[in-house]
Symmetry: C2
Amino acid sequence: MLQLTQVRCFVAVAEECHFGRAAARLNMTQPPLSRQVQLLEHELGVELLERTSRSVRLTQAGTVFLPEARRLLRSTEDAVQAARRAGRGALGQIAIGFTPSNSYDFLPRLISALRADYPDVELMLEEMITRDQLAALASHRIDLAFMRPPFEAAGIRSRRVLAERMVAALPADHPLAARDALTPADLEGQELIMYSILGSGYFHDIVHRLLVSANIRPRLVHHLTQIHAVLSMVKTGVGMALIPESASRLGIGNVICRPLAFGEEIAVELFMAHRADDASLVLENVMAVAAKIAETGRPSTPSIP
Amino acid sequence: MLQLTQVRCFVAVAEECHFGRAAARLNMTQPPLSRQVQLLEHELGVELLERTSRSVRLTQAGTVFLPEARRLLRSTEDAVQAARRAGRGALGQIAIGFTPSNSYDFLPRLISALRADYPDVELMLEEMITRDQLAALASHRIDLAFMRPPFEAAGIRSRRVLAERMVAALPADHPLAARDALTPADLEGQELIMYSILGSGYFHDIVHRLLVSANIRPRLVHHLTQIHAVLSMVKTGVGMALIPESASRLGIGNVICRPLAFGEEIAVELFMAHRADDASLVLENVMAVAAKIAETGRPSTPSIP
DNA sequence: ATGGATTGAGACAGGATTGGTATCGATGCT
DNA sequence: AGCATCGATACCAATCCTGTCTCAATCCAT
């Protein structure tokens, strides 16, 4: 069978037009080099070089074969490099699931960081709710899930990547917009836009716990799922809303965010989860980047924009 | 260094997902196959297969490497085939020189025959006169020349490919167009369009010898180089002309060709010439096709269209 | 013209590599 | 629990590859 060493030998001789120099370049002596080229020619059944005992010249067949041979060696090197990079987890693909609310801040930052650090890792992104992500992990539909607590599933390992406070989103002309932070008394009786218990159960529960912990009963209006829909409501003056601090960076005009002076213990948490038996280095690298972003990306305590 | 056998082994195992079956497919036993794959993995520094002693699965790196490996094997096969075809003279390139008058009939037939028999031989065609072709052969500018006698040059080998009669080209309404063949007496005193002694010296000489041999003195008008220009003159009724029989197939309307009843010994000859030391198989094949065309292509004796 | 230098090929020995046989350890199924 | 299957390992024989030495052919210089 054709040997790559033979091809390498031929290319060297063809480029040097001299067996001795080619042998030196290949760190070998001339006789075995001659033999390798002979073997190649015999294998092909074609004379590639015309030896005149004083000079070496390519035959027509050699002229045809030389670029093919070069391409072959280059392809080989490429294949080796690809395998090595894949082995390091710098090349490959990963399917990532994420909850809708992550698409506003965390996910874009993760994606751009991955593009920078691992440009050859192909990302397949899929928006789904926490419960679906657990099933998708188990069925290998996704390899990594960014989701909300609580969850529990066998064979799934998870770690918290983000914890942030809820902030109040107010119309710019709202009286409370002048305050630095809002107290429970501020919210009492206010029009508060609420999350749907079905589509956004996690945020529904967070807000509910916040209200209960502070023992306040605002007037709850609407029940929406998407945070940007909630913010649109706020913008048009329907009322105020409680949103995760990161969502305040959505940059919707006419909306002012203010921290809450209560319920510090109630945080919005984001977990990433993967199959416990998944030893993929791509996964490992992606999770490392996600962890790095979570640490250094933005402060997780509320800030006043 | 990376071995193609290792790549082949890996592809077989990856496709079968089973060392035993892969070994059978490769006509070898399982242990050395395992070893080859291990060597490949060690060479790459990457684990390509995940062996669970009950099943074999590709790792992510293996998934990346498999298509690369397949491509590599395919490229190898392609390179081998290309070299073999080049060795047979079925792949390569050849530069061919030809005289202007060959472009009308012989060259088109040669080209189409070559396209059919040797589709991967690249033709580089260049029109030039006989004297220039000898120089171009010597300087390797062309490899094969189709040209007119007489010529002589050291290191050039030639053979005659065509010999054809001259025929008379007449306007369709010419009185002589009714004849089957023209005698010397028919031509006496006729308006005869002549070739330039400079640009078409060969045809000038042929016509001159024909007239001398038959001892006729027509009225010579014009001195043109290109046969199609001559025929245009004939078409518009300027006079008659003597043209090589093959040129009568140019298919110019309003022109009738008639054989000559004299000067049988004076033929238009076409030679092909090449460097005597050129051992190219492409050249050999092209010359064989040219010879075949010359023999079987068309009758070389005048015929009445 | 003739001797020296250079070039590629051939002969041969030693060592590495490859493929085969026998066997082991692990895992899944009955 | 025992058997079958599968991949890995150990070991051996054959082959192949490489390096040294050498030769034939050619070119160049004297």
